[in-house]
Every structure is written in structure tokens, then in C-alpha cells.
Symmetry: C2
Subunit: 121 residues, 2 copies
């Protein structure tokens, strides 16, 4: 995922999908391959993905520019995966292209790592 070293603005592609129950093995192999291939593209900043037991999945990939997103969309192997996605793997999906305007994070400090000189709460 984009680290705090990547300040906004940058771009996000939000891909929300509902799987069919077809070809789980082929889907999983292609999903893993696409994640690997995306990471090799110019302008790629990171990817995050989650799919729940109800079949709804959200994948967000991050990019430095709209041009990088366009090139990845038109990549030949990715285009083949998109065709298989429509033919077999997805009952429906929505794709949104966004400009990230602001980002911030939180990380819990594990109890055993809290510095002993921390001020009282």
C-alpha cells in the first residue's frame, strides 16, 4: 500500500465486484497474476484487497497518474483477464477512478512496545 512517503495527490482505482461461483481456481490464479503484473507497471504505488464470505470484494489500486491507469487498463494480458472477468468470474462490478486528495493513518502501539517514559494518560 502507498506509504506515508507518497503524499497526495495520487490516484486510486476502486474495483467493487460480486463473484459468480464459476471457475474459482482460474479466478484465483489470474487475480494473483494480475496483482504481480500490476506491481511491475510504471506508476504503480500499491494495492489493497478484501473479499468477504458473501462474495463481495473490493480491490483498490493506487497510481501516480491517470496516464499510468490508462496504460495498465490497456495492457494486453490485463485485457485478456478483463474479458474472462466479464465472461465467467463476475456477476457484476463497478469501477471508479478517483483522485486521492487527503490521506492519513493510525497504527496502534502494542502494549509491550510502549516506551516506559511515556507521560501518564
Amino acid at each position: 500500500m502507498p506509504t506515508s512517503a507518497t503524499p497526495p495527490p495520487y490516484y486510486a482505482v476502486i474495483f467493487t465486484s460480486l463473484r459468480t461461483d464459476l471457475d474459482g481456481e482460474g479466478y484465483a490464479a489470474t487475480a494473483a497474476r494480475m496483482e504481480q503484473l500490476a506491481a511491475e507497471q510504471p506508476g504503480f504505488l500499491g494495492v489493497e484487497s478484501a473479499r468477504g464470505a458473501d462474495g463481495v470484494g473490493i480491490t483498490v489500486s493506487y497510481w501516480d497518474s491517470l496516464e499510468s491507469i490508462r496504460r495498465w487498463r490497456e495492457h494486453a494480458e490485463h485485457q485478456l483477464a478483463q474479458q474472462n472477468g466479464k465472461a465467467k468470474w463476475y456477476a457484476q462490478y463497478t469501477l471508479r477512478i478517483c483522485r486521492v486528495e487527503e490521506a492519513y493513518g493510525f497504527e496502534a502501539v502494542p502494549a509491550q512496545q510502549k516506551p516506559s517514559h511515556a507521560p501518564p494518560a
Copy 2:
């Protein structure tokens, strides 16, 4: 989720999180309540959520403006939930505020619903 009746531009809040294993019951109740409460706020357009078996979750909520997002962030009951999130429920999270520039969808036509007068492929 925002229907095709909501043309861009609009706004998205991408909330990516990693759960602790603390207080699953309290977390689930609050997550459901926040989803209900968000839906009642002015400017709310929709929400999508997925969490995988690895504990990584992505929730994307959609809003008509940055002002609606700011109001929801400052809502009193939501603020309490945010405090509990940091204290108990999340090992880490990242929150990104985005402007949705472009959106499109795909829906598979179930085989039995294909019109019989469809042209040959």
C-alpha cells in the same frame, strides 16, 4: 452503493483497516450502527464493505461533497466510535478522501434471461 443515477464527480472515503482480535461483538454492533447512522446523514450516497479472513477490511463510503464528509466525521456518536476504534478495534488503518472522477459498471446477463431474439455472437 451509488447507482448509475449518481454521475461523477462525487466523493469517496476509502477506509482500509486491520482488526485486532479484541471485542469482536462490540465491534460488529458498532460497525452495523455506524453504517445505519451514516445512511441517515445529509449527502450520503452509499457504502460498500468487505473484510477477508486475514483481518484486512476495506470500507468505501460515498458522499456528495467534502462538507458532508466533514460533518459525518465530526458527528458525536461517530466520534465516540472512532475513539473506541483506536483504543480497541484497529491495529492499524488508513483513511483516504478522494474525488471520484469517472465510474462505470458491468452486470452479467444471467443465461436464462438472455432474450431469444438476441443476434448471434
